[in-house]
């Protein structure tokens, strides 16, 4: 199979075309107006349709996530205004608009433009800035509610407050909440409740169409919210509805009931908190006593250690030890002396002449002078001698002398 060396694959050229669209910022932030046709709401939740005018057609897709938020569902032939980004669906090689905003052109389209313009102006003035948002009081004693007294929204708010935070006082500043007369009334109601002095203001209205909620997109209302002395919690329409008042408010709640919840602590939490504090209070004071007891025990031990009695005891003990050591030394000395004495005695006994004489020897002395004779020549014939035995003695006269 032959192929041109620089030929693209279909995938790569299509991907390249897609990049061309996605690199163009105007294609990525496009408002398009046209008549809707071939409108299909797929079972997946995605919307598919074609926008057309006299000369051209543009395929559009709106994913489920965006489409499901829309209250307005267009019909075939409606002229609509959409916003989104243009890209290529590569599988079929078709470019199409991926829609994220959709609304009817004409009357409501104009409302939308007015909304965006006012939002831009107030935003530029800094009315929506996060730094302007005031914290809500933890315990609002006086809660101002600006709404219609006959509206279900007011009853919803009261129900939530009764359940959550019945310690509060609710002050209703009544006003119309829809129609041409509503904006100036809402402004007056906001100013009056501020003059009354409250801790927080709930600006609420139940759900309705875009036109029903329009009073909350009024510039004077927005400015009254902005100048409110008490922080304002807005709860207007349903989750999906955003009004200018919501942007200016210190907190935006999705519904009136949610506004009441955001503005108040839950009594169940408070009861639990008080209970917890009570337990810690008791534990705290018990710990104080326990700590003191430990301290006292410790000091008492220290004191016993330092007392004179204890010192005397110590001295006595070392004295006792000295005496014991002295005794031991003494008896050692005595024992050693005794042993030496015994040895001496034995030596002495061995040297005793009587012991020798007992074995048959005798000592000879000259009777005249008592001199001990060691040889026969020391005696003279006829001389008187004493012969000492171990037992007894003899007196003898020398008869004959034999010298060796």
């Amino acid at each position: 199979m032959l192929s041109h060396p620089s030929a693209y694959t279909v995938s790569s050229i299509t991907e390249y075309i897609r990049h061309l669209f996605e690199a163009d910022l105007r294609m990525q932030d496009a408002w398009v107006q046209g008549e809707i046709s071939n409108f299909t709401r797929h079972s997946s939740g995605h919307w598919y349709f074609t926008l057309k005018d006299e000369k051209a057609a543009l395929r559009c897709v709106m994913w489920k996530g965006k489409a499901s938020l829309l209250r307005y569902i267009p019909r075939e032939g409606d002229v609509i205004l959409v916003h989104g980004e243009i890209s290529v669906y590569e599988v079929s090689g078709q470019y199409q608009l991926y829609v994220d905003k959709l609304q009817p052109a004409g009357g409501q389209g104009e409302l939308y433009v007015r909304f965006e313009q006012l939002k831009a102006i107030l935003g530029a003035e800094g009315l929506f800035d996060a730094e302007r948002k005031r914290p809500l009081p933890a315990f609002p004693r006086r809660i101002g509610v600006v709404t219609s007294p006959t509206a279900a929204a007011f009853q919803d708010v009261l129900n939530v407050l009764r359940r959550r935070f019945p310690l509060a006082e609710v002050i209703l500043s009544p006003t119309l909440v829809q129609g041409d007369d509503a904006p100036p009334q809402i402004v007056a109601a906001l100013d009056r409740i501020n003059a009354e002095g409250v801790d927080v203001i709930l600006l609420v209205r139940g759900g309705g169409s875009i036109e029903d909620l329009w009073a909350f997109n009024d510039e004077a209302v927005a400015r009254a919210v902005a100048r409110s002395r008490a922080p304002v919690v807005s709860g207007i329409g349903h989750e999906v509805d955003f009004t200018i008042a919501d942007y200016v408010a210190d907190r935006r709640a999705p519904t009136p009931s949610a506004a009441a919840e955001i503005a108040t602590p839950d009594i169940a939490d408070l009861q639990a908190a008080v209970g917890g504090l009570q337990e810690r209070l008791l534990a705290g004071v018990q710990e104080q006593f326990a700590e003191r007891r430990r301290q006292a025990d410790y000091e008492a031990r220290l004191l016993r250690g330092l007392s004179p009695a204890r010192r005397l005891d110590t001295t006595r003990q070392s004295l006792d030890e000295l005496v014991i050591r002295l005794d031991r030394a003494l008896s050692q000395i005595v024992d050693r002396g005794r042993e030496r004495l015994t040895a001496q005695r034995r030596a002495l006994a061995a040297a005793d002449p009587r012991a020798i004489m007992a074995r048959g020897y005798a000592i000879v002395e000259r009777k005249a002078d008592g001199a001990r004779l060691r040889e026969a020549a020391s005696a003279a014939p006829g001389e008187a001698l004493s012969v000492h035995f171990s037992r007894g003695r003899l007196h003898v006269i020398v008869d004959e002398i034999y010298e060796e």
Binding site: A138, F139, R141, P149, L158, L161, R162, F165, P166, L167, A168, E169, V170, I171, L172, S173, P174, T175, Q185, A188, A189, R192, I193, E196, I267, L270, Q271, A273, V274, L277, Q278, R280, L281, L282, G284, V285, E287, Q288, F289, E291, R292
Partner: protein
């Protein structure tokens, strides 16, 4: 919140928290801790009473 003698719920709760913190820090004489404990008990009772007896009051200011 019934208008009665004594601190508001918020004031009572805040003082109660302060007392508990002081007790937990220690460094008190026994007399002080007993006095704080008694004050804390009174405040806790006050808070519970306020919560138990609370009944939402609603009034409307006039339109002009």
């Amino acid at each position: 919140m019934a208008k009665s003698e004594g601190p508001t719920f918020e004031a009572a709760l805040s003082r109660l928290q302060e007392i508990v913190n002081r007790l937990e820090e220690g460094d008190l004489t026994l007399e002080e801790s007993v006095a704080l404990f008694e004050e804390g008990q009174r405040l806790a009772d006050r808070c519970q009473n306020l919560l138990d007896q609370a009944e939402l009051r609603v009034r409307q200011i006039s339109e002009t």
